[in-house]
């Protein structure tokens, strides 16, 4: 077994194991932390495929930003109450059916996929130079549209935040703090 294969198996075991722990952990904070471990192992897989840019962006965006936000919210909730209200059994059934159909679609999609091996250990499509060139020449229109989408989402978030503040009229605008969590502290 080459080093690449050993690394692949270790990373896969870590990824699947931590992903299982995300959904089986009782405590939501542990779930979030296991999810971070999952993201790291997936970044490891990207590195094996020599997609360094994707690997590091995966960590910056998911582990560094989104999971911090998750933790932030969880830490401000009162989690000492153990009991979660029992869910409707029809809801459970609906969840099982939806999850099962997703599995079916995935299996069907993978079954007919051609059996090409991924370019392990070589290839430079994922390097930042090539990725940047592709994004800004071949795919420049979709890329710019996506960035406008993000901008509008940001503006929307600011507007939602502002309108709630102005309803309360609690804080003068000059002293408003950008993050509502920080303000409540």
């Amino acid at each position: 077994m080459s080093i690449t294969e050993i690394l692949f198996y270790i990373l896969s075991v870590v990824a699947i194991g931590s992903a299982l722990l995300v959904i089986t952990s009782k405590h939501p904070v542990y779930s979030v932390l296991w999810l971070i471990v999952t993201f790291f192992s997936i970044s490891g897989h990207y590195l094996l495929l020599n997609a360094q840019f994707l690997a590091v962006v995966n960590i910056i965006v998911y582990a560094g930003a989104i999971m911090v936000l998750f933790l932030y919210v969880l830490m401000l909730m009162d989690l000492r109450k153990e009991s979660e209200p029992a869910k409707n059994k029809w809801l459970k059934l609906a969840g099982a059916v939806a999850g099962g159909s997703l599995l079916l679609v995935l299996v069907a999609g993978l079954r007919t996929a051609d059996q090409r091996m991924a370019q392990l250990n070589e290839g430079n499509i994922g390097l930042i130079e090539n990725l940047g060139r592709a994004l800004f020449t071949d795919y420049v229109v979709p890329f710019e549209i996506a960035s406008i989408l993000f901008l509008s989402a940001m503006v929307g978030a600011v507007i939602i935040g502002k309108s709630e503040k102005s309803k309360k009229q609690a804080v003068p605008i000059a002293q408003q703090q950008p993050e509502p969590e920080a303000a409540s502290v």
């Binding site: 904070v29 960590i59 401000l76």
Partner: protein, 348 residues
Amino acid sequence: MYLLQIDGWFILEKFILIAAIVTTALVVAMYSTYAERKIAAFLQDRRGPSRAGPFGILQPLADGVKLFMKEEVIPLVSNKFLFVLGPMLAMIVAMMTSAVIPWGSTIDIAGRQVPLQIADVNIGVLYIFGVVSLGVYGIMIGGWASNNKFSLIAAIRGASQMISYELAMGLALIAVLMVTGTLRMSGIVSHQIENGWNIIYQPLGFLIFFICALAECNRTPFDLPEAENELNFGYHQEYSSMKLGFYLFAEYINMFISSVLMATLFFGGYDIPFVNEAAWGDAWWVGLVGFATLMLKAFFFIFLFMWIRWTVPRFRYDQLMNLGWKKLMPLALVNMLITAVVVLLLQK
């Protein structure tokens, strides 16, 4: 191109390099605590630590022994696993950035060109950004697991402060990337050796980066997570013994690493000013002289950090957020735009 070409020498070389860099960071952090006290004493017209050894030079060791000998207390109501994990994460994340910093040019050992850099990846700057964004976890997990109101408030303050200042920091870095045209740390340094230091092209970018570094390291005037007159002690209030030591130590390591980073990104890294090192050929000591130069530059920044700490009072929390979001961010955006326009015009 085969990526994982690893032989025994390569592994040995990297292991020695990692051990050397970690040791350097720890020793510098250790003596930063001593320097901090001495500088504070100097600025306040006192003598500072002077009992342990000549000029109190053994004071950090005495502090270390004290921290190790103290009773280890884990609060009953805390989440024990996370409580222990917090300081570990703080320490590991503080060390991780050093992997992509070029600590010197190459050293010739027995016919092998050994670069004084652990990983010369072509996403160096992004890697740093990734590690910086992970820095929040040590504080957040530790503060939350302590199950103490003050710790939690401090942890939340620290996290939101770090998230806010990361943005302006990233925007300042993008302007540097536009000037140098590479994400590779060794490329940034060699570009500066050829074309002059980045501080000449990016004075505003450096200022923004420096302020953000102060905030990311939780140093005064932005040390709100440790504002003792509001929060008792800060996010590490429930910690004792070496776990507390880890948190305090991680902060000094962060300070050292960000000083090295500023020296590398804006002040030419291991480049000696007004001297053409390339003319010296590849004698074995050239790399070490470069390393010493980088250290000197870093020590200057550490001194600057301390100087500011004992000069400027602490900001209020809303002032901190105002500065980060309403002043530094637009300023960094403008800086980025101007840099982009100038780079574009010069290319034509």
